[in-house]
């Protein structure tokens, strides 16, 4: 391993999703120098991949892209993509030392014009993770059309090193000699904004996810209805049929002790209702049915949004899905308990969307020395003073923003980021070197 480069910033923000980005902006606008570390190839986290947001139905990209652009251009923010913080130790009240590994992108971002000639020349095709496996992508590729930085990246694990990409690159920005870089960061405060992971429904075999191609996750449907969608219209992945009867299965991986998550994920009811409304716009003749245990429309404008979906013709069935089976033609039989009537019923659908829940992101767990960072029973970052200062963690000077603390929607994530930034600024002010 090479000797790390020593760098210094006032604040380290880990995770460049909507919460991390907002935190970095707030800190930077106050004059602090911020290092924003992101493991992925783009800023924007999960939000930048969404179609629209609830309950306003505003375009998610229209909100996210100006923000990530502001972050990327801010003179007080340095962004490290493809990077991970591997260790943090607290040396004194205002001196945290973090080890950072920056993986090579094999593209000089500043020189790339995103012309996509490398993508056209690349002979490789592998699953596109940004389209949640619905379609392929090349090994030399732009992650997605609104990615920031909008520059090519080489998927080195799947690259055959044929060199076609660099031969067609007009700016000679592709460089396979790039190597992993190591940094030792000295910083005065740390904000954790590592977000959440989505429940993998393969853990519930009775739903058939993975076996039946027409059972998809809500994030896959989110991609299908987004403007930067994988297909020309809504299609079922099993056979390319335009679906006519779409079912939503709520609480897939939430409120379910059998998969270790007794909590409500807080966002699934509303994003499913949002998707149902968008589907009714995209497929006006389609029947959309939402199977639910309880609809939790607790936020501002949520109940009205729910009632609006009902009035548009979305069918809500209070029922718990027991099993999904597939017919020879790819249609699905959903067997469920009708909770109101207390009987078991079956219904046929073209496609089933599993409204998957929110889980903690385990990556942050091991980076602090001596296990000093505390977690709640579901492995979200524990809030030391939930009622008084919800951004404080078990380590003084380390704050937490967004869904790293637990499930929440976008407005709450942004509020939480504001709170974390305020706490971090207050800490920086109190621990200023005289």
């Amino acid at each position: 391993m090479k000797e790390p480069k020593i760098i210094e910033y006032d604040a380290l923000v880990i995770g460049a999703g909507i919460a991390g980005g907002e935190t970095a902006l707030n800190l930077a606008n106050t004059g602090y120098k911020v290092l924003l570390v992101e493991k992925d190839h783009s800023l924007g986290g999960k939000m930048i991949l969404l179609s629209k947001v609830f309950p306003t139905l505003d375009c998610a990209a229209c909100i996210t892209t100006p923000k990530v652009s502001e972050i990327a251009r801010h003179k007080n923010i340095t962004v490290f993509t493809e990077s991970e913080v591997t260790n943090i130790s607290k040396e004194s009240a205002n001196n945290f030392v973090a080890q950072i590994t920056k993986k090579p992108r094999y593209v000089h971002v500043d020189d790339c014009t995103a012309c996509q000639l490398c993508e056209q020349a690349c002979p490789v095709s592998v699953q596109d993770e940004y389209q949640y496996g619905l379609i392929g992508r090349k090994a030399a590729y732009i992650p997605f059309s609104i990615a920031n930085p909008k520059a090519a990246v080489i998927d080195i694990e799947n690259c055959t090193l044929c060199g076609a990409c660099e031969r067609v690159c007009p700016t000679q920005c592709i460089d396979f000699t790039m190597e992993t870089e190591y940094y030792e960061l000295h910083t005065k405060t740390v904000v954790l904004a590592t977000g959440f992971t989505l429940f993998d429904p393969i853990e519930i075999p009775r739903y058939g996810y993975g076996r039946y191609k027409n059972v998809i996750t809500s994030m896959q449907m989110e991609r299908e209805i987004a403007p930067t969608r994988p297909y020309n219209t809504i299609l079922r992945p099993g056979d390319g049929k335009v679906p006519d009867r779409i079912a939503y299965v709520l609480c897939a991986g939430s409120r379910d002790n059998t998969v270790g998550n007794p909590n409500c994920s807080q966002i699934c009811c509303m994003y499913s209702i949002k998707q149902a409304q968008l589907l009714m716009g995209a497929l006006p003749m389609a029947d959309i049915t939402i199977y639910y245990i309880n609809i939790r429309s607790f936020g501002k404008g949520f109940e009205e949004f729910y009632q609006q979906a009902k009035s548009m013709g979305v069918e809500f069935v209070k029922g718990k899905i027991g099993e999904i089976t597939e017919k020879d033609n790819g249609d699905l039989i959903l067997r469920y308990e009708d909770i109101n009537e207390g009987v078991v019923k079956e219904a046929e659908h073209d496609m089933a969307v599993l409204s998957v829940g929110v889980r903690s992101n385990p990556t942050i767990g091991k980076i602090f020395n001596n296990g000093a960072l505390k977690f709640d029973p579901l492995n979200f970052v524990a809030q030391e003073d939930l009622m008084g200062s919800p951004s404080k963690t078990s380590i003084k000077g380390v704050f937490v923003a967004g869904t790293a603390t637990g499930p929440m929607d976008i407005p709450d994530s942004i509020l939480s980021a504001g709170s974390a930034a305020s706490e971090a600024i207050s800490y920086l002010t109190q621990h200023q070197e005289v």
Partner: protein, 92 residues
Amino acid sequence: MKVEARKTAKYLRDKQGVPEKAKEELKEYNRIKKAITGALKDEELTIAQLSEKLQMPKPEVTYYLLSLVKYGIVAIGEIDDMDEYYSYKLVK
């Protein structure tokens, strides 16, 4: 070490070789691409028709065919009378 621009892939290939998995996957993709484009040479087909002609599962045909649409090799044709299935054709 200074490596000449546009020849850096060779540098890495010589240094660490090409992963076997990547070579296998490329071979598989080329085989399927050839089969699909060959089948669409003379006529527009739906996914079900392609699946039957190629003896390939429909989900696999769907994934590769729609990837070829994304890459600009295949174009979307007409939808059937029931508004259910599109047909697909080669981009000339």
